[in-house]
């Protein structure tokens, strides 16, 4: 615990010294919010967005996208860079367990994503009059699962990617797929049928749904929750397996 605390504090400072990453996580969601609000306006359309005003439908999705970006883009790039430069080796030799390092990265990426999500919600509320959550506790709980799942997935990707460049390539690719097909871009109903099937397996689709239900309807999307929990448990299990495997080389 002492190691995790020390490591997290250092990693938080290191993250803060990379203004581009911070800017990306804090500002990009606002840009998307601004652009898509300009495109879709504020009138609900009964055929799409579950009949909700666009901003009410989209804000939970943007929150999900922010969490996903921190998890699958910034975290793996950082972690794979550590492997590439020999930082991982250096830490391992000094009795810093890789699990501690991944944990610290998860906390930092999670904190940054949470700051981005809060900023987004506040701007969305002040600027676009988004509906505030019906069930605050439900939204917080859903957010906790979402951020844990995406940062755990990011930890796994960061371990598996050999270089920062590879992690960046994969991360950007996933980011665009997540944004376009995960419910943060065009409405699902506007997509061709084949892409609608793809949208159904994109994690952000489920993360968005998981947040939207307590936010707008005071209920709970059991299917989406199952998917996110599966991602969380699967990522943690694979990461543990991979670390054990690496240790025994």
């Amino acid at each position: 615990m002492r190691a995790l605390r020390a490591m997290t504090w250092v990693e938080l400072k290191l993250f803060a010294r990379e203004p581009v990453t911070v800017l990306f996580l804090l500002v990009l969601p606002l840009v998307i919010l601004y652009v898509l609000n300009g495109v879709f306006g504020s009138q609900p359309d009964p055929t799409v967005w579950e009949g909700q005003p666009p901003v009410d439908f989209y804000t939970p999705s943007y929150v999900a996208l922010t969490a996903a970006t921190a998890g699958i883009l910034s975290l793996p790039v950082h972690l794979a860079g550590y492997r590439e430069q020999g930082v991982l080796r250096r830490f391992r030799a000094s009795a810093i367990r890789p699990a501690t390092l991944i944990g610290a990265h998860m906390v930092v990426a999670g904190a940054l994503a949470t700051a981005g999500a809060l900023l987004l919600t506040v701007v969305s509320w002040i600027g676009y009059d988004v509906a505030l959550p019906e069930d605050w506790l439900g939204v917080l709980l859903a957010y906790l699962v979402v951020i844990l799942a995406f940062t755990a997935l990011g930890g796994l990707l960061g371990l598996a990617m050999p270089t920062a460049r590879a992690a960046q390539g994969l991360g950007v690719l996933l980011f665009f797929v997540f944004m376009m097909l995960g419910g943060a871009g065009p409405p699902k109903e506007a997509l061709p049928t084949s892409l609608q099937h793809v949208a159904d397996v994109v994690p952000v689709t489920h993360a968005g749904a998981m947040l939207r239900h307590p936010w707008l309807y005071s209920d709970w999307d059991v299917g989406a929750t199952a998917v996110m929990l599966l991602i969380l448990v699967g990522s943690v299990a694979l990461t543990a397996w991979r670390l054990r495997h690496e240790e025994a080389r």
């Binding site: 190691a3 250092v10 990379e18 550590y82 430069q85 080796r89 000094s94 009795a95 810093i96 080389r249």
Partner: protein, 310 residues
């Protein structure tokens, strides 16, 4: 010099990566308090060997004991008593010197206060410098300070002077001496002969994953090279053929006034004695002692036949 106990004992170590045999058969013993060197060309298995000693890799075969502990089983305990400076390792570029020391001492408590290490290793003025902005020599100094953060009983230094300029290398050598002076055993990996000769109490020469020789630098040299050369200059027409009758001399070359006498044993004393008896007192009489590099070349080209290695 050597302390009482055994710090590290490795016997019959073997490690294979897929089809590549990195370490075939390595055995050596490091006494407490000494600087022990693993010397060999690049790719000879030195780094793999010390990684197994630190529990960073699992050996396929053989036994390793680090102060009585097995790095394969007591991995975390071994890592706590072994400090390390690894080849090809780094810290995050934006991490500052003081932050690195504070982090590592928080993670491995029990050592000296990190501020003391900062001063001791001459890093106080760089305390707020990011790792990426340090010079090569300063990075090595930080690595040595980090290796000592948990007050280890053994420090492993792997190719610590590779890539350093000559002045920084001298400084790094002084650091190694300083580490030993505080009572820490040092296991040094190097492919530089001068470094091994200057620093190591004893060493093992590793070629192609096998130890081909062991001993002090002097022992290695005398086991390989019996011939010394004494040289001096005399007036061109001087007759020096009498030197070939001196005990231990195997040959005399005289070109103009430059004379080279080959032989073994206490050659310089005997040649000097014979010269003085004849009333010759050259003022440039010197003996060429073979260096570890000569012995190493003789060793590696004779039996196993080394390849590469600068």
């Amino acid at each position: 010099m050597a302390g009482m106990g055994t710090a590290v004992e490795v016997s019959g170590l073997r490690k294979q990566y897929g089809a590549t045999l990195a370490v075939a058969d390595v055995s050596f013993r490091v006494d407490e308090g000494e600087i022990f060197g693993l010397l060999g060309p690049n790719g000879s298995g030195k780094t793999t060997t010390v990684e197994c000693v630190q529990g960073l890799r699992r050996a396929d075969d053989g036994r390793i004991s680090v102060f009585g502990l097995d790095p394969g089983r007591d991995t975390s305990r071994v890592r706590r008593i072994v400090g390390t400076q690894l080849q090809d390792s780094a810290l995050p570029d934006r991490l500052r010197v003081a932050e690195a020391l504070r982090l590592f001492s928080a993670i491995s408590p029990g050592g000296p206060p990190w501020r003391q290490l900062l001063d001791e290793w001459g890093l106080a003025t760089q305390r707020n410098t990011a790792f990426g902005d340090l010079s090569g020599g300063q990075q090595q100094r930080l690595f040595v300070a980090l290796a000592l953060v948990a007050d280890p009983k053994l420090v492993v230094l792997d190719e610590m002077t590779t890539g350093l300029d000559p002045a920084a290398r001298r400084v790094a050598w002084d650091l190694v001496d300083a580490v030993r002076a505080r009572g820490t055993t040092v296991l040094l990996v190097t492919h530089f002969m001068d470094e091994a000769q200057r620093l190591c109490d004893r060493l093992a020469v590793v070629v192609r994953g096998t130890v081909i020789a062991r001993g002090t630098a002097a022992e290695l040299i005398s086991s390989q090279l019996h011939d010394h050369v004494v040289h001096f200059t005399v007036p061109p027409s001087t007759d020096v053929t009498f030197l070939s009758r001196v005990r231990g001399v195997s040959g005399v070359d005289a070109e103009g006034g430059a004379v080279r006498v080959h032989g073994s044993g206490p050659l310089l004393a005997r040649v000097a004695h014979a010269l003085v008896e004849r009333g010759l007192e050259p003022d440039d009489l010197t003996v060429e002692t073979p260096t570890l590099e000569d012995a190493y070349l003789a060793l590696t080209t004779a039996g196993t036949g080394a390849e590469g290695g600068p």
